[in-house]
Symmetry: C2
Subunit: 354 residues, 2 copies
């Protein structure tokens, strides 16, 4: 477990001081650029640093200043195409303010989330961006973190029961836009594949769907509601099951992108085509969507902006202290209509209900 360690010794501020024939305090002053240092001396120090390939030890600095300029980011899985743009947004904001971003995966498991948060606290990150894993009110690790003085900003979804700063998307409205579009294309039998009901945004997307059914005077049909978990596999299985049922939907609304990919694969295997056989709409933009056929109608989230503004908010709280009330930004999703829902259907198709 313990390694053999470095062979070479790193250049320290002391060696720079000796080489430049000044005190360590002066070298430090040159580094910070703060107090006025005689230009001639500053020059000597700069030269010494360059010639020694000196890299100031951020570890030592952090120990003294109690600021690591590290931001922790906790997501479920970087290989889920939803996250890279969010991470990139956060990283860009971090860099603008001279922070370094550390990203860790939880694979949707609350136990891993706890471990990751603990590691980040050991590392003394200055703040944490958190995309929570589904759980039943298991939030002590989060409240402990906030209580210890580390700001936390939730992205994409917020835990129930506690109040935290957050950047989220108006999922109800996004789902409404999308399902309303399906209704406007003549669909009456609209299926949905939901996310895990422990997550607020999964609930919201279902709620949006329900709102529009009600608005359109349509009866809710339990056989058209598939209970997924935001993973590809569940989208695949539930789509197959629903499409092979006696009365399949004419349109399908899938609650997230991973499940959307699964649904597409299922349709492909079943030999069903969009939009001729079924209209498909997905919450979340799909990777490569505009390159493929058919383009899929989606509710696109501003992932980059979620990450970017989340990090900005977090840094604000780090540097200006936590606000009395948690901040909450809600962004809008955007409906992007593509071929997969372009075919207007009559209300009289044989397998349409009512």
């Amino acid at each position: 477990m313990t390694g053999s360690g470095k062979l070479t010794t790193m250049v320290t501020i002391k060696e720079v001081a000796r080489k430049a024939k000044v005190s360590v305090g002066t070298v430090s002053n040159v580094l910070r650029g703060s107090t006025r240092v005689n230009p001639a001396i500053r020059d000597r120090v700069d030269r010494a640093m360059k010639s020694l390939d000196y890299h100031p030890n951020q570890i030592a600095r952090s120990l003294k200043t109690k600021q690591t300029h590290l931001l922790g980011m906790v997501i479920s899985d970087i290989t889920n195409p939803y996250f890279p743009r969010m991470v990139r947004g956060a990283e860009d904001a971090a860099i603008e303010h001279d922070y370094l971003l550390v990203t860790s995966n939880t694979d949707h498991q609350i136990e891993r989330e706890k471990r990751v948060v603990s590691v980040l606290r050991n590392r003394r990150v200055d703040g944490i961006l958190l995309v929570i894993a589904p759980s039943d009110g298991d939030t002590e690790h989060i409240t402990n973190t906030v209580a210890s003085g580390i700001p936390v900003v939730c992205l994409d979804r917020v835990p129930r029961g506690i109040r935290l700063s957050s950047v989220t998307v108006d999922a109800v409205r996004g789902a409404e836009m999308c399902v309303r579009h399906l209704v406007s294309m003549g669909h009456r039998a609209i299926g949905i594949i939901t996310g895990p009901m422990q997550l607020q945004n999964a609930i919201d997307r279902l709620q949006g769907y329900r709102n529009i059914l009600a608005e359109a005077g349509l009866q809710e049909d339990p056989t058209l509601i598939g209970n997924g978990d935001f993973r590809t596999e569940s989208g695949y299985l539930l789509t197959k099951r629903m499409m092979l049922a006696p009365l399949p939907p004419t349109a399908l609304f899938v609650s997230n992108g991973m499940m959307g990919m699964g649904a597409l694969k299922a349709l492909k295997e079943l030999g069903l085509f969009c939009p001729a056989d079924i209209a498909l709409a997905v919450f979340d933009e799909l990777p490569g969507n505009e390159s493929y056929s058919p383009g899929v109608t989606v509710v696109a989230q501003p992932e980059y902006e979620i990450g970017y503004r989340g990090a900005k908010m977090l840094i604000g709280q780090i540097e200006n202290g936590e606000p009395a009330e948690p901040l909450a930004i809600t962004l809008n999703a955007e409906l992007r209509i593509r071929e997969s829902t372009r075919l207007r259907i009559g209300t009289t198709r044989s397998h349409v209900r009512e």
Copy 2:
């Protein structure tokens, strides 16, 4: 620029010691679990830590031990779908050995690569995984890093001129497999879109293409070679240009995934279908490839394994010291034949040359 800092003071080892009525040395011993500590005392200390929500300060530990258990990873862009799996592989290996992975983007810019490497050195990462940016022999920042005792492992491609440990893919062979497949499907006019010629793997992919043309006794045609830069836009533009030329190819081999997405988009806009109008094959798996139609024939790289084995190799070098000779692992790519190249064509089609 400087913040107001923490309001709350973190719990330190000293406070734990006081609460447990032992010395700090003993608390440290309990933490490390190393020397034999009286079970009763160990218990007292454990309880004190728990009740104080104590998180040992990794910063202080690192300062003393000169090991941060941090790994730096430098990639071009996490939103390029090629990288997430590689990052995930590296992270999984890191976690297995209790390291934390820090990933940074360079956007293919050598200047940003230098800055990022410098930041990682300030942070005293124990080692660096590096996917180099294209440049003309600008490697001093890398040799300096290695010279200072920080192991570096290159992934996916190696800089020319210096010898470093690496994990790469046999790109010549991958390209050969792919182009040979196109030839075997009857194609004679096979186009290629290349990557930037400063990158070894771009050169290799072109080389594989040339090898097979020679093997098949086909003349190389400059109008069928598009000089891309591994970005979507260039794949898009070059595909359009090539397909609108007087003598377009019957098959197109695209040197990486991003450009492959651009090529697909171009074909879609031109109203050309795969494989009826053109056969398409891409180096790199495409996101969601098996969900869409047509599935695209690809040379799939083991991205996860590249990251995983690279991190394992790096950790080996950190803990056992650098090997006398740099290590080099070469992995194999895999040809995945899908619909986009499934149509066998005769050699007599009018627009086929020779």
